[in-house]
């Protein structure tokens, strides 16, 4: 046994002791408070994406998409490929077009379908979707 082995063994011991002894709530060791900015950015983007995906899953939206001759799985894949910024842009444009009225859920469906047809080059509704034919 050489010194390196002892070192390794000691490390393993220390690590496993840490796993056993420290409750999971403070296992996320940190040197300072996590900032509000980054957390807001992360969870707002997540919420936007969730809202969009949930809408895609609705039966009437799926039916509408299929009626347009679009494979729902492909539509979903295209939506998933959008960046957080693009999703935010799309939602902002949607809100701007309906400012004051509030987004009614039927309208939201229409926008999601438009987004899908945009991504597949059938329509040109959203500014950020670019289609080269």
């Amino acid at each position: 046994m050489n010194f390196q082995d002892i070192g390794k063994k000691g490390m393993v011991l220390a690590l496993s002791a840490q796993l056993v002894l420290i409750p999971p709530s403070i296992a996320m060791a940190q040197a300072e408070m996590l900032g509000t900015d980054a957390v807001i950015g992360k969870y707002t983007a997540l919420a936007n994406r969730d809202a969009l995906m949930e809408e895609m899953q609705r039966a009437d939206v799926q039916a509408e998409i299929e009626a347009l001759g679009i494979d729902p799985a492909e539509a979903e894949a295209r939506l998933a490929a959008l960046s957080d910024a693009e999703i935010a842009t799309m939602l902002t444009q949607m809100e701007d077009d309906n400012a004051g009225a509030g987004i009614v859920s039927t309208l939201f469906s229409v926008f999601v379908i438009l987004l899908v047809t945009d991504l597949l080059c059938f329509t040109r509704f959203f500014n950020f979707t670019r289609c080269v034919r």
Binding site: S25, M28, T36, D37, Y43, E95, A99
Partner: protein, 275 residues
């Protein structure tokens, strides 16, 4: 040169007048705006040279009860080299003065804010696209029947503009508008995400007291959302209020026990309290 300039201005004015069609609220707006609305008691401040930006912010802040002057704002916002104030500095200086600042981008929002009793700073081009004369003013009211928009525009008289003329000047400013409010009030039209970002921006410029107030204001409006309590915890921590921070972060955890960032910051604060 002077004659050319005068001709250009005349052309600009006649073009503005020629295109004046009445503003049809039913067609142009997607909400039911009242026929007329006015935000009372916005002071008229005569702007000093090139200080239309700082004087606009001073007007809305004085309306809200502050005694700030246009020189105070100018020290934080004005760019002498540019002879004016950049849009970003309008937002930044408002925040450095502890205000909630949220941008708006269309007529719907502008008129909804006015109808809701909030003055709005707007960015206009009063010249031509090719010969721009950039200007900030404060919209304080409108009247569809009279076809008028009212602005405090750096003069001692209220400025009255027909909707079409105002729209043309505002369009050339890309419909940029700014709602500046004390952190215990919220714009009518801003989304939760907009206000959250504005609050986090107050933390960034070390306006922790203002950020704390704004997080509390947001929490009252959106009580189900843990993000307000998270921000509140951080803003209180930054002011050394460990127990207050713990209380807010515990509330955040109650609202959503699954967020690792909430648990991490709560553990951090509890660690400091335990010493």
């Amino acid at each position: 040169m002077r004659i050319l300039r005068r001709i250009a201005v005349l052309l600009a004015l006649s073009w503005l007048a020629a295109c004046a069609a009445t503003f049809d609220p039913d067609e142009r707006l997607s909400f039911e705006a009242p026929t007329r609305a006015e935000v009372p008691d916005v002071p008229l401040i005569k702007q000093e040279d090139f200080f239309c930006g700082p004087s606009s912010i001073a007007m809305v802040m004085q309306w809200a009860g502050s005694d700030i002057t246009q020189q105070d704002v100018a020290a934080l916002a004005f760019s002498p080299g540019a002879g004016g104030t950049y849009l970003a500095d309008m937002i930044g200086s408002s925040r450095r003065l502890g205000q909630l600042a949220v941008e708006i981008t269309n007529f719907d929002q502008l008129l909804a804010e006015i109808a809701g009793g909030r003055p709005v700073i707007v960015f206009q081009n009063l010249g031509l696209a090719a010969l721009p004369y950039w200007h900030y003013g404060v919209v304080t009211g409108y009247d569809f029947e009279k076809d008028e928009i009212y602005l405090n525009s750096g003069q001692l008289d209220k400025m009255v503009m027909p909707f079409a003329v105002f729209e043309r000047t505002w369009r050339r400013g890309d419909f940029w508008g700014l709602v500046v409010l004390p952190p215990d009030q919220l714009p009518v039209t801003a989304s939760e995400a907009d206000v959250l970002s504005a609050a986090a921006a107050l933390e960034r410029v070390a306006q922790y007291q203002a950020a704390e107030t704004l997080y509390e204001t947001g929490a009252a409006k959106w009580p189900e959302s843990w993000l307000w309590q998270f921000g509140l915890g951080n803003a209180r921590y930054a002011q050394g209020d460990l127990r207050g921070a713990r209380q807010a972060l515990r509330r955040a955890r109650r609202l959503d026990p699954s967020i690792p960032e909430v648990r991490a910051n709560l553990a951090f604060v509890e660690g400091e309290i335990a010493g």
